[in-house]
């Protein structure tokens, strides 16, 4: 890791990460759940000088986090976040991991307890190309944001952007910001149809 101390070129970062970087003010404290190889946390540390730590279950991914100098705990988030007190972080990130947890509601509740705000990113299951594959191809959709076949997907929950918006209403969660992406561009028009990814900034309603 020869260049891990240099400041990354923002324009070269993938859009999904740029969106999340923009949601987090400099100097914040951030917990990334399912932080993978630590790339997002590393960007946040380098560009926003955040105080960050991650939780990741995969040993190889934890290994890579260590290479980047990220504070990471090799743990399972399914068991909850009882290690942390209420509002321990300004932001908790659940990017592309929410749809993979078994006890989704319990985990979500925990993130809202330990974080002041929560950033959630997930693949939109009813993206128009998915709909086409289902309706006309009669097959379970495979898209860039849902790249796995039905038999080897890590995803347990298949949700749409509209599903998540409705869920937030029933659970009294305030959506402060929502950004929708289709690959490398943002989508404003009928995102539930045209976006592959939804990124939400949510908090408990006051």
């Amino acid at each position: 890791m020869s260049n891990n101390s240099s400041i990354p070129d923002i324009s070269k970062i993938k859009l999904e990460y740029r969106v999340i970087l923009n949601l987090i003010p400099a100097g914040s404290s951030v917990l990334d759940l399912g932080c993978g190889d630590g790339e997002l946390l590393n960007l946040l540390v380098k560009t926003k000088n955040i105080r960050g730590s991650g939780i990741e279950i995969d040993e190889q991914a934890v290994h890579k986090c260590a290479s980047l100098g990220i504070s990471v705990s090799q743990q399972d988030i399914e068991g909850g976040l009882s290690d942390y007190g209420d509002k321990s972080f300004d932001f908790v990130i659940l990017n592309q991991s929410l749809q993979q947890v078994v006890k989704l509601e319990a985990v979500l509740k925990e993130t809202l307890r330990v974080g002041d705000r929560v950033i959630i990113g997930f693949p939109n299951f009813v993206y128009y190309k998915s709909r086409l594959q289902m309706v006309f191809g009669g097959r379970t959709p495979v898209t860039p944001s849902l790249p796995n076949m039905w038999y080897d997907t890590p995803n347990l929950h298949f949700l749409s952007i509209s599903d998540f918006q409705a869920y937030c209403r029933t659970r009294n969660l305030e959506i402060e910001k929502a950004i929708y992406l289709d690959g490398n561009r943002t989508i404003k028009f009928i995102p539930n149809f045209f976006a592959q990814t939804g990124i939400f900034l949510i908090r408990n309603q006051k």
């Binding site: 101390s5 730590s53 040993e59 934890v62 290994h63 260590a66 290479s67 100098g69 990220i70 504070s71 990471v72 705990s73 090799q74 743990q75 009882s82 290690d83 942390y84 007190g85 321990s88």
Partner: protein, 379 residues
């Protein structure tokens, strides 16, 4: 950079001895008793930099000693963590000044029950006061200060060494920048105490033990060897024993009905017999008791005890097959760190070696330790 590049051995080293706690300045132990004068054996590797900011203190397990790396003159066996300490290794002696300290109560050059009691001019035996992990660390504090070091870049160790690491962080937080407790616990569990008690009973059941006054009469070697055999069983795992020995039997027929015939039996006897040549039975009693009594949380929550250590960065390492110091004990340390707002990293490494993994699973540990220390040095 690949692990394994530019790795060089330390070469020849010598154990040094630090004496302190002379009359009127004795060390006050946790029990309230005073001990002195005290000798502490230690070794150092690498060079202390001009602002004395690159010192790393390595702490050893129950039967370890100050000889952690390199070779002693005329001896072919390297130090007990030689694969982790040296040029280009996890604790890189090109960058860091590495100190390894022995413990009081031991028998490897430091003051313990086999040392001469200045009052009687005979070995202490059971007149030696009970010591604790905190007492060991208090003694090491004097050694570190005598080297002119006011802040350690890192304190690291496995098993009982890990307990000393935790105690350092709590006793002298202002002197510790980072802490690496490995395969350890903040307090001994009933199961851990139980195994140690069987070891102690084996020693005390040996008629040669004579209430600890055996010096000059022949040591309770059978009892100590049995204690060591039990220890070795707990340091391995079902898988590692099966891989190493299986159910293989020795080629020659046993001389007597119950002479060892399985290889694992022969191995345990061999380890037991070797151990008694280098270790004192009373030290085994004193040190295992110190380990068993260790409870850093002291009845309160561990996170409360850690509050004073909030400036220290932690790297906690556990091993999946370690059933003597199971990962849940490391997770308790991690949890307390998080609740005390301590910057902590935790990894649970895959290994089949059981508790011994911290001594042999070098590559993975090296990766985590090297990157952790580099991050700290970059700050």
């Amino acid at each position: 950079m690949n692990a394994g590049e530019n790795r060089e051995g330390i070469g020849l080293v010598e154990t040094k001895y630090f004496a302190f706690a002379y009359p009127h300045n004795e060390l006050t132990l946790e029990s309230g008793e005073k001990l002195g004068p005290i000798t502490l054996a230690y070794e150092t590797y690498g060079t202390l930099n001009s602002d004395k900011s690159n010192a790393i203190l390595i702490l050893h397990a129950l039967t370890g000693d100050a000889h952690v790396a390199g070779f002693h003159e005329g001896n072919h066996d390297p130090g007990w963590w030689d694969n982790m300490i040296g040029s280009g290794k996890a604790f890189d002696t090109d960058k860091y000044f590495v100190i390894c300290s022995n413990v009081i109560g031991g028998c490897r050059g430091s003051t313990g029950p086999s040392s001469i009691n200045p009052k009687t001019k005979k070995p202490f035996g059971l007149d030696f006061p009970l010591i604790t992990i905190k007492d060991m660390v208090d003694a090491q504090y004097h050694l570190v200060r005598s080297l002119g070091i006011s802040k350690l870049l890192c304190v690291a160790g496995g098993s009982m060494g890990g307990m000393q690491v935790l105690q350092w962080a709590v006793s002298f937080p202002e002197m510790v920048k980072t802490a690496i407790p490995i395969a350890t616990s903040a307090r001994h569990s009933p199961q851990q105490i139980a195994f140690n008690e069987v070891g102690r009973q084996a020693i005390m059941a040996d008629p040669a033990w004579k209430d600890g006054q055996y010096y000059g009469h022949g040591a309770p070697s059978r009892g100590l060897a049995v204690a060591r055999m039990i220890g070795h069983i707990t340091y391995m795992s079902d898988v590692s024993m099966a891989e190493k020995f299986g159910r293989r039997v020795k080629e020659e027929r046993p001389e007597k009905k119950f002479s060892p015939d399985f290889e694992i039996e022969g191995y345990l006897q061999y380890r037991g017999d070797n151990f008694v040549k280098r270790f004192d039975a009373n030290s085994y009693l004193y040190i295992t008791k110190a380990i068993d009594r260790f409870d850093l949380s002291n009845g309160a929550g561990l996170e409360k005890v850690f509050k004073s250590a909030s400036g220290i960065k932690f790297l906690v390492i556990a091993f999946k097959s370690d059933w003597l110091y199971p990962a849940y004990q490391s997770k308790e340390i991690v949890r307390a760190c998080k609740q005390a707002q301590i910057d902590v990293s935790y990894c649970e490494l895959n290994s089949t070696y059981g508790h011994d993994a911290f001594l042999v699973e070098v590559e993975e540990q090296e990766h985590f330790i090297k990157n952790f220390l580099r991050r700290i040095s970059d700050e």
